[in-house]
Every structure is written in C-alpha cells, then in structure tokens.
Amino acid sequence: MAISEVKRLAQALSQEYNSANPDLAKCGHFLSQLKIALIELSYLTHEERPNNIEELTLARDVLEIGAQWSVRTKDIPSFERYMAQLQTYYNDHSALPASPLKYNLIGLNLLCLLSQNRISDFHTALETIDPEQLHNNPAIQHPIKLEQSLMEGSYNRVWSSRSEVPSQEYLFFIDILMDTIRNEIASCSEKAYTSLPLSDAGTLLFFTNMEDILNFAKERNWKVNPVEQKAYFHSDADEKINIPADQIIKQTMFYARDMDRIV
C-alpha cells in the first residue's frame, strides 16, 4: 500500500474518531487495516530508512488514536500494547515534532498502572518524564498527586480528584481505582475499628445507598448487627502465635554445620 493510501485511511480514522459521536466499531476496523498498512512502511523497524519523519509521524498519530480508542472501548491490554509501541516514538525519535497528545497519553498510562496497583512500574515510568513537564503539566500532575494521596491514605482527596480530571479518558481508570480504594479503606477499617455504625461505614466508603453497604459488608464478611445498625469486625487479638518449629530446626542445623567447619 502506498503512503498516500495510508494517509487517506489515517485521515478517515481521525475524522471518524474526532467526530461528535464516533462509531467505535468502525474505528477499530480502520485501526486494524492501518496497522497492517503501517507494517509495510517503517512502522516498527526503521534501520534502513532513518529519519523518515513523515512516515513516523503518521504511525505515531495512528497509534495515539489507537490508544485513546482502547480506553473508550475499555480494553486495557490493548491500551498497554499501544502505549508500549508509542514509547519508541516518544523516547527514541527526537527528530519527530512533539505530539500535543503525548503527555495526556503518558498521564493515562500512569493512571492505568496505578489502577492496577503496579506501583513500581508507575515509578519507573515517572523517571522517564522530563522534569519540566513533571512539575507543570496538569496531565502528569494529576496521577502523581493521586499516587501521593493513595500512599498517605487521604482517600478523600482521591475521591474528589474525580472532578478535576484533565480529560474524559481519565475517568475510566479512576472508576477502576475507586473499587481498589474501597477495598483498601475496608481493609484499613477492619484493622482500625472494632465496630462501626453502618451509616458511618457508608460515608467512609463513599456509598450513598444502604443496600450497597449491606452488599459490600456481606462481601467482606463483616458481622452486621441489624438491631444496633453496626458492623463488627473480626479481631485478630486472640489469634495464637505459632512457634515456627520448622524454621528454627533448619536454622539450627545450618549453624551446627557451619560451626563444625570452623572448629
């Protein structure tokens, strides 16, 4: 396929995707067509034709739409694939003109890592970002603040950050994050309280509906006392501490062997 053909396809895709009400299935169709076409150009390997800026830019733009499209269709593995491919375009091709979407997508990627609780990947990804952008770009600042609040335990702020998202695509990941947070809060509460009134549990967990609270309590095996309207948590104070016999035997044998060697 010639480059003009690919260009035409890419244009059709971007038109469809950026229209007010995009047909996502159609975009997906375009994308798979384009990917095949791009492989014939300098899509992944470009050793023989370095600095072919036109083709590279084209490929990058298509991949960017692909990444956004994956978020819209809620396909996380596909999003990760697109991001992995984009990394080369962002990091290794300094000759390319900067993409306006770059930091938005990187921010999305960070959020995606966060929502899956891949904190160490999150930090590794953070290191590759230019410090200037790190401090000033709202798309990057958002996930960073989010991660900080998460680490501290200011779940309130995480909840309120929902209203300050830099773009619509972020919401998808934040919603996933909310579920993670709810479980976090629940596990903290189990340790921190002996009992909790159901209505208060509701506010802590950001539930508005009594039914949701009861369902959630059931899921986490809380003992609910319907008369007092209170949830009781399992306390681990009376758990027995086992003597780690196996381990002690192993260690002692190890000492004996080494001592024998010395004396």
């Binding site: 680490m151 309280y193 802590l204 080494d258």
Partner: protein, 524 residues
C-alpha cells in the same frame, strides 16, 4: 593468585585531587616526587631536568611493554593488570612529545611494514603536527624487537587518554572507534584487561560529546562476546557502561532488564563493583525495593576507595543512601553529614532529613521547594517526593507514642492535614500498615494507642540474631575462600623474601594510584 591483589584495592591515596576529564597542570614538585618514587633506583632528592623526566616516563612505558609481553607469553593476567594500574600515575605525565617518541621508537620496520607504518602515522597524526615534527632521525634507529598486539593496543590507549586530557574529543572518538575495532578483530585473551580500559574511554568520549545512545549496540555486542569468553574485566566494565548509558537517558526499565538478564562477574575489581552496586541501588530504589537498594548502596559506599579523588562518587552514593534510608523509615546518622568530603554536598539532604525526623510536613515542603533545582540535577526529586508520606507516618508515630488518647481533630491540626476525614483515613491506614498500634473510636472521634507489646515475646529477637549469625558465618567462609598461599613458601631464602617485599611495596603503591580510576565516574 592473580586476583588477590585487586581485591584489596582500598588504600588511601593522599593529596591527589585530580579533576575529572580535564588536563591539570601538575605541580612540578609533586610530579618529581612521583617520578622518583616510581623509578626505584633514582635518588629522591636530585632535581631532574625536563629532559630526564621525559626519559623516565619513556622508560616506564617501556617497562610496561615488557609486562604486557610477559603477560601474553605466560598467560598470567596479573602482569597486565600491574601495568594498567600504573596508567593513572602515568597519565599526569604524558606529553605529546613523550608519546611521539615512544611510538616512533617501538614500531620497527619488519614483516608487517605497511600495517606498522600505517599505525605510526595514524597515532602520530592524532598527536598533532607539532609532535610529529619533533621526531627526528635519531629515534628512527632504535632497537628492533618483536611487536605484539598488546603493546600496540596499549599505545593506542595512551594516546586516547592523552587526547581526553587535552579535551580533543572528536579526535579521541575517532581513535577510540579504530581501537575498539582492532581489539574486536584481534580477539586475544591476553588483551582482555586492555580491552576493558579501551571500552571505558571509548564510552567516555561518546558521553562527553553527547552521543551516548549511538554506541549502545556496540557495547551490547561486546558485552555478549565478553560474557561468552568469561572475560571478567571487560564484562564488568561493559555492564557498568551500559547501565550508565541507560541512566543517562532515564531508561530505568531497560537498565533493570539488563541487570536481571546478566550476572555481574564475581571477580570484578572493587571499583567496578562499587559502580555496579550504585546503579543497582538506584534501580531498586526506583522500584520501591528499599531494603535491597539499601544493601547495594551500602556496599557501593564501602567498596569505593575513601579518598578525595572519589569524592563525587561518594557524594552521589551517599545522597541516594540517605534518601533510601529515610524511605525505609530510618534516620541516617548525624556523623555522616559531618564528613569533610560530604558535608557541603549533603546540606539539602540534611535539611530534608531533619524535616522527616521531626515529622513536620510544612518544613518538608519548604525544603523541597527551596532545593528543588539541586534535587532535580541529582535526579533524586521523584524519590524525595515519595518521602512525603514518610513525614506523615513519622508524625503519626510520634503522636501515638506521646498520647494514649487523642482526638482526630488534634491529629489533623498537628499534622497540617486538610480535614478530619483525611486524618481518619490516614490514621486507619497507618494502623493497617503497622506503623502504629492503635484503634479508632469513630463515634467519639478519637484514636487510642494500645499498650506497648513486649518485643521479647515475639519472634523478632530470634530473627535479628539469625541475621547477625548468618552474616558472621558468611564473613568467615568468605575469608577462608579469599586466602591464598604461596607455592613454595618454605624454601624461600632471605634474599628472595626481601625481593618479594620490595615488589609488594611497589604493588601497594600502584594499587593506591589505581584508586584514582574512580574519578571518572564522579559526575554522575
């Protein structure tokens, strides 16, 4: 036997403060002392004319040739290592004239006439026309001896170092390209130690010209070959060069993959090991594996020679070590910040430490803002950002220790948090993470600390003892392994003992000088 001298590289080299990569006018007196000490038979007090000095340097270089040839013939790496160890002291005394003289004198017209003439003119060409002109007819008639590639590569190396010191980067890069190619084509085991050095300067040239990413494939290839040949020196140097390369572009992901796919040779020199440990510590710190990071960094700090030359490396490693310690919830010792080499560089880190120790969030933010630029250049900013919740944790722990009961409102005020709800979540999380042992009473809005548990009723002491015993046993085993015994120790007569001692003394001195190698790395 060959590995033992290198293991004990920790010796102090005093009053040297060579600045990295730049040619430094060496004080005449010091230079002469060095020279005199090196050439053993020379009387120390005599004042030498420049001409005699030159002759001495040339003699030194020639002596190294002999060592290389001996090393190649006997397949004993230690001779080559000995010669290479002297390079750092030689480095300060190199001039274009000396180099030109040596080059002219040791390439002789023989079988490989064309090759040799080619090399001579090339090497001389790099030294500049002035030096080439100084070669007069008198040198053309010098001794004939059989040429070995070791000597050839060694000369290339010397010229490279000279060019680096003269800041002639473009030329040096060109020459290093040629040398690397020669080394790869020659493929001789006796070149291994030299090759490591050659790669080091090769990468250095590319770094100084800002073209590091270009040599990555070459380094990776060379690394693979070195691994297959079990060439420890080259392998360790190359792994470090690659890591440095990745770090330069913040590609920690790839650096991590490299580390997980390679094994760092056990026999690597201390200097390389220290570097490797530093890189490893940084990767682990970024991946939140603080305990491992802490171990690596401690090793890096301890393995690095403790002198002024390596100040840069020590500072970098200690900065990172402080942050990692703080992230682990430990407070670094005060004495660390007092060391003369480190004191000035560590001031911002000291202030951060103070903020974390007190648990004062406001002070932490202020310090962070004040020194943001420093932290950014050190590439530690993101790591320090992570400390924020450590500050809060310390704050909560202090509160929990001092109050048996405190209202959440007061917690919120003390820690400068946004709201009471936030305080409740944060306290709950700290309880879950085991920072404090307490319960929250939600209805009445206070936090109640539990009585301290008796630590001796848990498995904790046993654990701590196990760690220590394990360490002692390992130390013992390692020292047994590291012991070496001379073959015919009994039959040595007095004269030989004396000679051996002499040799040892020069060796010790050379080890001390080799420590300077670290200085290349201190701008990381």
């Amino acid at each position: 036997m060959s590995e033992t001298p290198r293991r004990s590289t920790r010796l102090n080299k005093n009053q040297e403060d060579d600045t990295k990569g730049k040619a430094k006018p060496v004080d005449q007196d010091v230079e002469m002392e060095d020279t005199a000490a090196d050439a053993t038979s020379e009387s120390t007090e005599k004042v030498l004319t420049p001409k005699e000095l030159e002759a001495l340097v040339v003699a030194d270089i020639k002596q190294h040739f002999a060592l290389f040839i001996k090393s190649a013939k006997t397949h004993e790496a230690r001779f080559a290592i000995r010669a290479l160890r002297a390079v750092s002291s030689l480095r300060k005394r190199l001039t274009s004239h000396i180099l030109a003289q040596t080059i002219a004198s040791c390439y002789v017209k023989g079988k490989f006439l064309f090759v040799i003439v080619d090399t001579i003119s090339r090497l001389l060409g790099y030294l500049g026309s002035e030096a080439a002109a100084s070669i007069t007819a008198e040198h053309e008639t010098t001794v004939t001896k059989s040429e070995t590639p070791e000597v050839d590569v060694y000369l290339h190396l010397l010229v490279m170092i000279y060019l680096l010191d003269q800041n002639q980067l473009e030329k040096g890069m060109e020459l290093s390209n040629i040398t690397v190619k020669t080394v790869q084509e020659l493929n001789r085991r006796s070149l291994d130690q030299l090759a490591a050095k050659v790669y080091f300067y090769y990468a250095r040239f590319y770094e100084l010209t800002g073209r590091l990413s270009e040599i990555r494939p070459t380094l990776l290839n060379a690394q693979r070959t070195a691994t297959l040949r079990r060439d420890d020196d080259t392998q360790s140097t190359l792994i470090n060069l690659l890591l440095r390369n990745y770090f330069h572009y913040n590609l920690y992901d790839q650096a991590d993959k490299l580390v997980s796919k390679t094994t760092f040779p056990e026999n690597a020199t201390n200097n390389q090991l220290a570097r490797y440990m530093y890189y490893l510590g940084r990767i682990k710190a970024i991946q939140l594996e603080y305990t491992e990071s802490h171990q690596s960094l401690l090793q890096a700090v301890r393995k690095a020679p403790q002198n002024n030359v390596t100040a840069g490396f020590q500072q970098e490693a200690n900065k990172l070590l402080i942050i990692v310690q703080l992230l682990m919830g430990e407070i670094p010792e005060r004495s660390l910040f007092r060391q003369p080499v480190l004191r000035k560089a560590l001031v911002p880190y000291f202030q951060i430490t103070q903020a974390v120790r007190v648990g004062d969030l406001n002070k932490f933010q202020e310090t962070l803002a004040a020194h943001a630029a420093t932290f950014n250049t050190d590439k530690n900013y993101t790591l320090i950002l992570r400390l924020r919740h450590n500050v809060i944790k310390t704050g909560i722990r202090m509160i929990s220790l001092s109050y048996s009961r405190i209202s959440l409102r007061d917690v919120c005020l003390k820690l400068h948090l946004d709201s009471e709800e936030d305080a409740e979540y944060i306290v709950a999380k700290s309880i879950r993470d085991g920072v404090i042992d307490a319960t929250i009473d939600h209805e009445k809005g206070f936090m109640r600390s539990k009585e301290n548990v008796d630590i001796y009723s848990t498995n904790e002491p046993q654990h701590a003892f196990h760690q220590r015993i394990g360490f002692c046993l390992k130390l013992h085993n390692d020292s047994v392994k590291a012991m070496r015994f001379p073959l015919k120790a009994v039959q040595l007569d007095a004269a030989e003992v004396e000679a051996a001692r002499d040799q040892e003394r020069t060796l010790v001195q050379e080890i001390a000088e080799a420590d300077e190698d670290m200085d290349e790395d201190d701008d990381l």
